[in-house]
Subunit: 277 residues, 2 copies
């Protein structure tokens, strides 16, 4: 369908609508767009017209069917919550007075809270436990920006347990690196929007070798999710040019803290050994 919003179309066609069409329009706009997501009968009831009139109204708006109309509404809703990326610099509506940092950090807090709501404690705990067990090798990999998170994570985990390996960025050497992967090993992959195909590829290979994959990704889920045993989705949306990976960082630090705590008896020894060097 063309790019116009449903509300826009109603506005355009307003004077061409029939009497019952206008009732339908008024009903929909009065409770937009939710009423349109209800079944026809309910929409009709709420607007005070017959179901058939709703269907005709929807047809007049240029939709081939009621489901198609609903799909458009859902897309619109999704769009509204996702897209201002293209808009460029600052998100609209925000006053650009002096308090940039305050606003940004406040939003960062919200992203953490949202993330918390989306990651089940049990999933987090299972990942931590698996890491703390120290069994098998543990591979790490990230994408363009998240690779630094992988590095940060690895630098800490190395102190806590053995068997850490990080896939470097060069595709050429990847085959070598995958060479002695064994069933029962685990891998921690980072992948956020503008998903890196390399991550999904590696995930597929690892899954085939029966490696347990932990995927740390954004709220829209990397395609690698289909291969993952554990998925930790973090909120990254900012409405700005760059998404924010602060929530991923938070989860990484939480994992570091939890794993350290769980394997304290062995971890503390290793930490002391590092000190002594």
């Amino acid at each position: 369908m063309d790019g116009k919003s449903v509300a826009g179309r109603i506005h355009d066609l307003n004077d061409q609508l029939t009497a019952s069409g206008r009732k339908a329009a008024r009903g929909l706009l009065g409770n937009y767009p939710l009423l349109g997501l209800a079944p026809v009968a309910e929409f009709a009831e709420a607007a005070g017209v017959s179901a058939a009139s709703i269907v005709r109204f929807v047809a007049q708006l240029g939709f081939r069917s009621y489901p198609e109309f609903q799909r458009a509404l859902r897309d619109e809703l999704e769009q509204r919550s996702k897209s201002p990326l293209q808009r460029g610099a600052a998100p609209e509506g925000e006053p650009s007075d002096g308090a940039f940092l305050a606003r940004y950090l406040h939003q960062a807090q919200t992203r953490l809270a949202d993330t918390l709501r989306h990651i089940p404690e049990s999933e987090f705990e299972a990942v931590a436990m698996r890491l703390a067990s120290g069994k098998g090798a543990c591979y790490m990999m990230g994408g363009r920006f998240t690779d630094f998170l992988a590095g940060y994570f690895e630098a800490h985990m190395r102190v806590i347990r053995p068997g850490l390996r990080r896939f470097d960025g060069r595709p050429a050497t990847r085959a070598d690196q995958l060479l002695d992967v064994r069933a029962g090993d685990m891998a921690i992959l980072f992948d956020v929007r503008r998903y890196d195909p390399a991550v999904a590829d590696v995930a597929a290979v690892l899954a085939r070798h029966r490696v347990d994959i932990v995927l740390i990704t954004d709220e829209w889920l990397s395609p690698a999710a289909r291969h993952a045993r554990y998925v930790l989705p973090c909120h990254t949306q900012t409405g700005r040019a760059w998404d924010a990976n602060g929530a991923l960082f938070g989860v990484v630090e939480a994992l570091i803290a939890r794993v350290t705590e769980q394997s304290w008896s062995t971890a503390s020894k290793r930490m002391r050994a590092v000190e002594d060097l």
Copy 2:
């Protein structure tokens, strides 16, 4: 139905869910609540499971039918749109029992808030402006763990402006790298507790060459602070084995966002150029 939100129910039942149930949950939470308003087949496709599994998932959540589940989602949406203030308000946390991730992320939010209180907006703004000006070279360096933050920062800034350089970890090559530092250049240094002597050393040298130093450090201030022109102190204290660098990460992302915004006219061109490769 009882008053719990669908997301809340998922959260509660998570560890009782089957594997495909969890996939469904992830899919839904990742695109909440829109995916649930789609027909079963579409939901199933998006979540990567069969339609039947979606139906079972919905049943597990306590709904008598898929339509009833959809009705609940719509009601929720309506509810939310009626009181827009409710959600954005304060970063509310969970109770401080048992739930490790909840506690940790809640503390992370507090660290962000504390950091905000300690960094003057004017200082932040000055740094952003200086970076956005694009004049002179900009050097970056971090310590044992914070080096990854430097890397993350650099990877973004490279897209926005030219003249980025990162000091690598090897002391041997450092002298070379310092060779063509010029007065008026700037440097961004990261240094947190267990302060890295190398950072302080480099800071001293840079200061002597009249390079403007931005220091991103913790609340106890790295010794490099004496050489810095701008200091951004971040809260890192956790009371655990490891301090947390999440607040530094937050400030870095805020800087990235601010600088991108300030230099949007040139930055957007560079970003597009990168895309085209």
